[in-house]
């Protein structure tokens, strides 16, 4: 919620709220073709819901895509319904050859996001950052 609020309040950012995450692949691609940078904020289940768009648009057409993925279903997860997505997220990222890194310390967030965006733009491909429990939720 906090990230979305920041995006909404930033005059240099256009926030687009989606019905389903895969739309974000098309919208981000449109923004890239128009010369703008974008980021997709979603949960790992949103990443699962976007896979065809990532493969058959972002990969096929060499579209940079910065994906900020809140990483549910890992150690400490209390909600049973979140647990299966956590099991498959990283193996799917690897299977799709998507470079990814975990964000778990507040001090490194800004630099890591900048680095991820730089790699996405230079390699013209999707790049993912996993927003971990340690970073996102106080327990």
């Amino acid at each position: 919620m906090h990230l979305i609020r920041m995006a909404e309040e930033d005059p240099e950012t256009v926030l687009v709220r989606l019905a389903k995450e895969e739309e974000g692949v098309g919208i981000s691609a449109g923004a890239h073709l128009a010369g703008l940078k974008s980021a997709m904020l979603m949960q790992n289940h949103g990443f699962l819901a976007s896979i065809n768009g990532i493969v058959s648009f972002a990969h096929l057409y060499k579209i940079p895509l910065l994906m900020l993925i809140s990483y549910r279903g890992t150690f400490g997860e209390r909600d049973p319904w979140q647990t299966q997505g956590g099991n498959v997220t990283e193996s799917l990222l690897r299977a799709m050859s998507i470079p990814y890194s975990r964000l778990d310390q507040i001090e490194t967030v800004e630099k890591r996001i900048r680095q991820a965006q730089t790699l996405a733009e230079s390699s013209l491909q999707p790049v993912a950052l996993l927003l971990t429990r340690d970073l996102m939720w106080e327990e």
């Binding site: 256009v14 687009v16 709220r17 989606l18 019905a19 389903k20 895969e22 739309e23 974000g24 692949v25 098309g26 919208i27 981000s28 691609a29 449109g30 923004a31 890239h32 073709l33 128009a34 010369g35 703008l36 974008s38 065809n52 768009g53 058959s56 648009f57 096929l60 057409y61 060499k62 579209i63």
Partner: protein, 190 residues
């Protein structure tokens, strides 16, 4: 009504627009009329042509964006209508060729043949102008009005389930994508 005739009827109106098409027959037919640097053919990722058009429209408010969608593609991403309606960019024209068929992937019948009214769905989603056209004259008038106007419009064009013999063109997908982006960059330098 044939989709190819529809495309031919508005081809000259597309010159100053940025155009996104869906895969298969729609892409091949527009390409066959003469490719231009302002045409982007989304040859896969069914459903995302409208989302791509929305991204372009929000990023480039001074450009007119025309999306040539299809019933099969739109049915895979109906939520896109609600997202388009939420931001309702007045520079986006959303044309849906409805042949009641997944023609380019085997000709399987879609639900528009059994009663789903896509213009009705668009209207109920909040798209400011949504209409269905069944003849060439109405199609041409609707597209011209939408391109010259400032209201987000979804035009559902009922067409026959007929297309070209093949869908592969001599334009590689990546070449098309880079050419399209360079075209937009050239517009911004003007």
């Amino acid at each position: 009504m044939l989709r190819l005739d529809c495309l031919r009827a508005v081809y000259s109106d597309l010159e100053k627009c940025l155009v996104v098409t869906i895969m298969g027959a729609t892409a091949a037919e527009l390409h066959s009329l003469g490719h231009r640097a302002n045409f982007f053919y989304l040859q896969h990722a069914m459903g995302l042509a409208s989302s791509t058009g929305l991204g372009l429209a929000l990023a480039l408010p001074d450009q007119k964006i025309v999306v040539f969608d299809g019933d099969g593609s739109l049915l895979m991403n109906l939520g896109s209508l609600s997202t388009m309606a939420r931001y309702h960019p007045g520079n986006l024209v959303h044309v849906v060729f409805d042949n009641e068929s997944l023609l380019s992937v085997g000709g399987f019948p879609t639900a528009t043949g059994t009663g789903t009214d896509l213009a009705g769905v668009a209207r109920a989603s909040g798209i400011p102008v949504a209409l269905t056209v069944r003849n060439l004259e109405d199609f041409k008038a609707a597209v011209k009005t939408a391109i010259s106007g400032q209201r987000l419009t979804t035009i559902v064009a009922k067409v026959e389930a007929r297309g070209p013999a093949g869908y592969v063109t001599d334009l590689s997908l990546v070449e098309n994508r880079f050419q399209f982006r360079r075209h937009i960059q050239s517009l911004q330098r003007q």
